[in-house]
Structures are given as structure tokens and as C-alpha cells.
């Protein structure tokens, strides 16, 4: 193990190196670029024994990964924003084919207006693509997810592609001290890839077939069931990770001062640390505040969220996403979870950080004040006008 002062993208690339994928296919896009630059350097200098395929588009990047995964090897790709949307057609292909590809997505705004900075509208737009989705809060978690994601995705009960999300620039380009495990420990943690069905001349298979109306639904049902079953693979992976590397993760959500909280703010990604500081500040002003960080959007932690907020007087969701004319995707998922659990406390949705706009601690403290004052509805941080 070494301690290194590196960026989120560098950390992610180190995690991928330790997972030893055999094929990496990628197309560069800001702010993902340095991930694949680092990986191509590793392939170039021999520190990673993999085929690095420079493709002509993101659509090809994922198509290539699907082909390589079907051939039975561990694969990696990475993208962001417009690139993710350009490869969108291939995402349900990978999920329906149950290819356990790992992809890093640098969360970035989507056009128009054109913008290269971070928000979560790209990945949340593809929440329904069938992939597991995890959101890191710092560079270390990015590296650790790179290792854990393969173990989860390749679990035979799961066999589903995995998207690791890092907030663009705030995580991808911020330098932190990161513990980089040694290869021997990584190999102990991550067993070799054993595909559930791949190209094999001794056992010919029809791969990626069609299924008509009678049979199609069973494949969708099984893909859904597989993502639900990933819950135990995630728990097992985190337990093994903690045993070998000593770092503990908390499953699909992470709670901060939620036990006795009256007002719980739910968020995901790099804003979580800011929200925890704001919760401490709100408590010093007499508001019993808590923060619930969503680590996984798929599988969605509906029961965990409902259990964590069941004693709260109000719930709010802060996310860098909005579905025009609706609400943020995270809020609509959380709302369904609370409704299903029979919870009906006042709730609100704060849209913040779109196009990379800074969210301040004052902004988050105002959210807690608004919650204490009983405000509800969908609101944009920094725009006072209420929405009807």
C-alpha cells in the first residue's frame, strides 16, 4: 500500500489497474479524459497488461466493451455527459445481455447551453438503462469502488454492468491523499472473472439473441431481479474489502446524525461533505439536522431510506439534476420510497449545482431553515422565485 496525492481520476485509474481488465475501450471527453490517459500510459509502460482500444466514438467504446465481455474478459470504459448520451443505445444492450462491464462516468452537465462542468443530469437520465449506479463522495471512494464494482458486477447472481459516478471536476480533478492498495491484496480481494456465458468454440452459444413477446418479459424480470440481488453482493464485497484493506463502507446509503434528526437532507456525490458541515451548523442553531447520503441509485435503497427517515419531521433532497416539468430524479425515487413505506412527512426538492454552479454552506443551511419552517415543493438554489 502507498499513500499518494492524486486526483479523483488518477485514483479511479489506479483502482482499474488493480482490477486488471483485459480490454479497455474508450473515447476521451472532459472531465473523464485523464482516467483513460492514465490507463493508456499504464498499458504503454507495461504496468497494466491490457488491450487499450482507441475507438472513434462512445457508441463504439461501449459496443467494443460488450464484445470483449462476450468474449469472456474483464472490461473497462469511461465517459461523461454527451459521450454517455451518445453511447446510450448500448447501455440497455449491456444490461440486457448481462455483461458485467464497469464504466466510470464523470458527472457533467448536458447541453444546451453547452457546459463542461459537473452536474448529475447525464447519469440520472440513464437511471432506467439497467445498470447499477454508484456515486462516490471522494477520490478514495472512487478507487475503492473501481475494485469493488468488478466483484459485485461479476457475481454470478448479479452479472450486470456497473456505472461508477464521480462529480465532474469536484471529484475528478481535485487532488487528495489516497491510499493505493498493493496488487497482491487487490488480487486477494478480486477473484478472476468467470463469465456466465461467453464465446466458446467447444460450447457454441447464440449470444445477444432476440426474444419475442412471450419470452421477452422473463429476461427483463431476471435482469431486474439480478440488480435487486446485487444488494447481498454489495454487502459481501464491502465486508471482504474491510477485512483486507481496513476501510469500511455502509452499503447503499450512509447516514450522518440521522438517529435523532427532525430534518433530514438526502443527497449524493461530492456535496455530501458540505451538507454534513451544514447539518452541524444547523444543530448549533437549534435545528436537529441530519444527512443521508445515497451511495447507490441502482439498486435503489428504498427500504433503507424509509427506515432512516421514519422518525423525521421533514425530508428534503438536494441533487444536481432536474426533469423539466417534474422534479429531480432522485426526489421522485425517494418520494416513491416514502409513499410505499406509508410515510407522509412534508418534503422538498432542492435543485443545486447545475452546470457546475457552486453550492455554499449557506445555501445548505438555508435548506435546513426552510425545512424547519415547513417549506415544501421543488426549488432551485439561487433563484428566489417560487415554482407552482
Amino acid at each position: 500500500m502507498t499513500r499518494e496525492f492524486i486526483s479523483g481520476n488518477d485514483a479511479l485509474a489506479q483502482g482499474v489497474r488493480l482490477a486488471s481488465p483485459k480490454v479497455i475501450s474508450a473515447y476521451p471527453i472532459t472531465p473523464q479524459t485523464t482516467v483513460v490517459e492514465r490507463l493508456s500510459e499504464m498499458v504503454g509502460d507495461g504496468s497494466l497488461d491490457a488491450e487499450f482500444i482507441h475507438v472513434e466514438s462512445e457508441h463504439s467504446a461501449l459496443s467494443c466493451a460488450i464484445g470483449a465481455s462476450a468474449a469472456g474478459v474483464r472490461t473497462f470504459t469511461a465517459t461523461s455527459s454527451q459521450g454517455l448520451l451518445y453511447m446510450a443505445e448500448c447501455l440497455p444492450y449491456a444490461a440486457g445481455g448481462r455483461f458485467p462491464i464497469v464504466m466510470m462516468n464523470a458527472n457533467r452537465s448536458v447541453a444546451l447551453p453547452w457546459n463542461i462542468y459537473g452536474d448529475q443530469r447525464d447519469s440520472l437520465l440513464l437511471l432506467d438503462s439497467g445498470w447499477m449506479q454508484a456515486y462516490a463522495q471522494d477520490a478514495q471512494e472512487g478507487l475503492d469502488l473501481a475494485l469493488m464494482s468488478y466483484r459485485i458486477a461479476e457475481d454470478p447472481e448479479v452479472s450486470t454492468p456497473f456505472m461508477i459516478n464521480l462529480d465532474g471536476f469536484r471529484l475528478t480533478h481535485t487532488y487528495e491523499v489516497v491510499e493505493v492498495p498493493d496488487k497482491e491484496s487487490a488480487d486477494r480481494f478480486l477473484p478472476p472473472f468467470r463469465p456466465i456465458g461467453s464465446i466458446d468454440f467447444k460450447d457454441p452459444q447464440n449470444i445477444g439473441f432476440s426474444a419475442g413477446p412471450e419470452h421477452n418479459v422473463f429476461f427483463k424480470y431476471k435482469a431486474h431481479r439480478a440488480v435487486l440481488r446485487s444488494r447481498s453482493a454489495i454487502a459481501g464485497s464491502e465486508k471482504a474489502f474491510s477485512d483486507i484493506f481496513g476501510r469500511e463502507y455502509t452499503g447503499l446509503i450512509e447516514e450522518y446524525r440521522c438517529e435523532d434528526a427532525d430534518h433530514i437532507l438526502i443527497t449524493l456525490g461530492s456535496a455530501s461533505g458540505l451538507c454534513r458541515h451544514a447539518a452541524d451548523a444547523a444543530r448549533s442553531e437549534g435545528i436537529r439536522a441530519g444527512v443521508l447520503r445515497i451511495r447507490y441509485m441502482r439498486p435503489f435503497p428504498a427500504e433503507e431510506i424509509a427506515a432512516a427517515v421514519s422518525g423525521a419531521k421533514s425530508v428534503s433532497v438536494l441533487e444536481a439534476d432536474v426533469s423539466f416539468g417534474g422534479s429531480g430524479a432522485v426526489f421522485s425515487n425517494v418520494g416513491a420510497a416514502l409513499f410505499s413505506a406509508g410515510l407522509s412527512m412534508p418534503s422538498s426538492n432542492y435543485i443545486g449545482g447545475l452546470g457546475g454552479r457552486r453550492i455554499s454552506q449557506g445555501d445548505v443551511r438555508r435548506i435546513f431553515s426552510d425545512m424547519a419552517a415547513g417549506k415544501t415543493g421543488v426549488r432551485f438554489i439561487g433563484i428566489e422565485e417560487g415554482l407552482q
Partner: protein
Amino acid sequence: MRPRLVDPPKFGSPDDYPEGTSFEAGHLTAVNSGWRRVRPEIDGGRCTGCLLCYLHCPDGTIIRNGRTVAVDYDFCKGCGICAKMCKAGAIKMEKEHA
């Protein structure tokens, strides 16, 4: 060669299905010709066995049958390309029975 038309394995519950879209190849599990309005009829007396129809059939439904040919009506869509291609006038498109 005509693909095997086989009864699919009994699929009753999700666990009868493969995990992912990967399964033993070589199965055609259902006939696929329900929308045909006309069908090619081979006149074995006129057929020279030149196999132009066999080469041009977009669905691979012309089968060699001795020195002449036959049609696989389980998969023929009735497009009529074989009749158009036949120089010997050995294929006539006849109305499909109601």
C-alpha cells in the same frame, strides 16, 4: 439446409430461462410465415434445377429436392422474388388459402 424447428425447452418460470442472452444456438422455435398472402408453387416439370431461386431467396426458404427445389412454407414470407428470378417459368405465385 433447413434450420431445425424444435419445440423449445419448457419455459414456465424465470429460472427455466438462461441468465443473460446466451443460449445453445441452432434453434428456430416458431414458424414465421403468418402474413403471407401469396405462395410460390414449384412446377417440377419446368424446373431446371439452376438454383437461381435458392440463391436469391432472402429468407433461405428454398430447399434442394433431388434435381428440383421445394419451398419451406414455415418460413416463406411470400415475397415472390423466386418467381421473378426463375428463367424457366417454373414458379407461380398462387393466392394463399384463407
